[in-house]
């Protein structure tokens, strides 16, 4: 494979996001305005929104979630960009990872110097069955869904394949969720920003207040293995293995490298970008790795000229806990079959040798699907600029990576960022 390079350098000079959560009464456009305003305030040397030349927005299914198609021009209007071009990108949960890549290519081509890239999703207006059905439209409607598969079910089946192939115990998945809640408890934007210990104590207090028998979980793992506290969604995936149903938006500004320092002394340069595709789950030679992710990672690493070991800050697509383990192997941080052991050994914790998802990941931070890809970039933006507060990684990190998956890996994007 020939190593491909961008036509010219592109940098990130501003980034913002709404809080992720359930926000009755707010539509995706309201959330996008919140993300946009935070993005404007994040540009160190100031920024005139009138200079934005185009908008690329990731969104999975405003059509079914909000009964609203043709979403991009609405977002452009709400943030004052009309009549400039606004394009919606749909690749399921990788929609805004792909939007980022499209914005990147648009600036690298020389057509634009300044573009806005965003992601939006408003999921919580629908009842849970219709959310399940809507998410299932990202799977193969002819050959996966009729088998009774849901999204948790598809990832759960990857988990059973992984357990059988590598001898992993289902408890390891719970440890990924536990770790991500630890991280998310330090993220003020997180939807479920509580430690598992706090959730457990709150349950005990609630039972006591209602005069019910107070559960006697010995520790967090016992709580997480309790069918009543942590019900099975699709075995072996339980509630705390699954990212939540969320509303949220995120936005970043991409500019050509030549003008980046006009806006900030700490731009993040986009060193590498890769994107891959794949067929339905039954058409794959393996269920314990995503071919699209490995392809996207290889392209991104080659473009960037860096190796997995060089990367310091990492956000991966943990839509389900098993997905995080597989992602860390596909990205080359651990060998195939070693990712689950790394979790057991605490290597992926914030103070481990390979911290994964310092933001809390999709699990704790929330997963407004079309916004998640840019939401991940927000964490890398903060970590590489030393602005991550209590969850800041030590060692002044300057190289970060995002891994954003659509469906069960039918789409994957990998991006690598550097602060110089």
């Amino acid at each position: 494979m020939t190593t491909r390079k961008l036509g010219r350098g592109v940098a990130l000079v501003g980034a913002g996001m709404s809080k992720f959560g359930a926000f009755p009464g707010k539509s995706s456009r309201d959330l996008f305005v919140e993300a946009f305003q935070e993005m404007l305030g994040s540009v160190d040397k100031g920024f005139d929104a009138k200079d934005i030349e185009a908008l690329f927005i990731g969104n999975f299914s405003s059509d079914l979630f909000e009964n609203q198609g043709h979403t991009a021009p609405i977002m452009a209007d709400w943030v004052g960009l009309t009549p400039r071009p606004a394009t919606r990108i749909e690749d399921a949960c990788a929609s805004s990872g792909v939007a980022l890549r499209q914005g990147l290519l648009a600036v690298a081509s020389g057509l634009y110097d300044i573009v806005l890239v965003g992601g939006i999703e408003k999921m919580t207006d629908l009842p849970i069955e219709r959310v399940t059905d809507t998410l299932a439209t990202a799977a193969d409607a002819l050959y996966e869904v009729p088998a009774g598969f849901t999204f948790p079910g598809l990832y759960a089946s990857m988990a059973t394949a992984y357990m059988a192939q590598y001898g992993a115990n289902p408890d390891v998945f719970l440890k990924v969720g536990y770790k991500n809640h630890e991280n998310g408890s330090l993220n003020e934007k997180a939807q479920f920003g509580q430690r598992i210990a706090s959730i457990m104590e709150a349950r005990k207090a609630s039972a006591a207040k209602k005069g019910l028998p107070v559960p006697t979980w010995a520790d967090e793992m016992e709580f997480l293995k309790d069918d009543r506290a942590n019900p099975i969604i699709a075995w072996p995936m339980r509630l705390y293995d699954c990212s939540p149903v969320s509303d949220g938006a995120a936005a970043v500004i991409l500019v050509s490298e030549e003008i980046a320092r006009r806006f900030t002394d700490k731009p993040l340069y986009v060193l590498g970008s890769g994107q891959g595709s794949d067929g339905a789950i039954h058409s794959r030679p393996t269920l314990t790795s995503l071919a699209s992710a490995k392809y996207a990672a290889r392209v991104a690493y080659e473009m960037a000229g860096v190796k997995p070991a060089d990367i310091q800050a990492v956000e991966v697509h943990d839509c389900f806990t098993v997905a995080e383990i597989i992602a860390t192997e596909d990205l080359g941080f651990f060998k195939p079959g070693e990712g689950w052991k790394a979790v057991e050994e605490g290597k992926t914790a914030r103070d481990g040798i390979r911290p994964i998802n310092t933001s809390g990941g999709l699990k704790s931070k929330g997963h407004p699907v079309g916004a998640s890809g840019i939401g991940q970039v927000l964490e890398i933006w903060k970590q590489l600029r030393g602005e991550a507060g209590q969850r800041q990684l030590p060692g002044n990190p300057n190289l970060g990576l995002t891994h954003n998956v659509g469906g069960t890996g039918q789409t994957c994007t990998v991006h690598i960022f550097e602060r110089r």
Partner: protein, 137 residues
């Protein structure tokens, strides 16, 4: 080859006759199931129908407690979960299908690699009645 021979409609019609019909590329020899009208390897469309035995091995599975609407209508829910699986057929291709006969209350006893055999599940009423592929443990 007729216009509809290797479409999803033909796939489900064949399931209605309790048959698993794939398509084999006459140039590459590769068998596809579900059938495809064009070989994605050589891009040729000289495909012939090839019937599969329905015998295979369990490749992956999950016990689904939170079901999609179609399965809720079929009587499944949190109290009555079901097993969805990926099965590797002995002719090579793999397919997603419901797995019957699995002990859903003890999912750890279900073993990947176990032989399974195709069965046919009728769901829906009247014109909406359709036959789905299942496997029996």
């Amino acid at each position: 080859m007729s216009d509809t021979e290797f479409t999803s409609t033909a796939h489900y019609n064949a399931l209605g006759e309790h048959r698993l019909v794939g398509s084999r590329c006459k140039s590459c020899g590769i068998l596809f199931f579900p059938a495809r009208p064009m070989c994605p390897e050589c891009h040729g469309n000289d495909m012939e129908a090839d019937e599969l035995s329905g015998k295979g091995k369990l490749a992956a599975y999950s016990i689904i407690y939170i079901a999609p609407t179609a399965m809720i209508q079929a009587g499944y829910d949190r109290k009555n979960p079901y097993c969805a699986a990926v099965v590797n057929l002995e002719e090579g291709p793999s397919i997603c299908a419901q797995l019957l006969g699995a002990d859903v209350a003890h999912p750890e006893t279900i073993k990947i690699g176990t032989p399974v055999e195709a069965t046919f599940i009728d769901r829906g009423e009247g014109d909406a009645r359709r036959t789905f592929l299942g496997f029996q443990l």
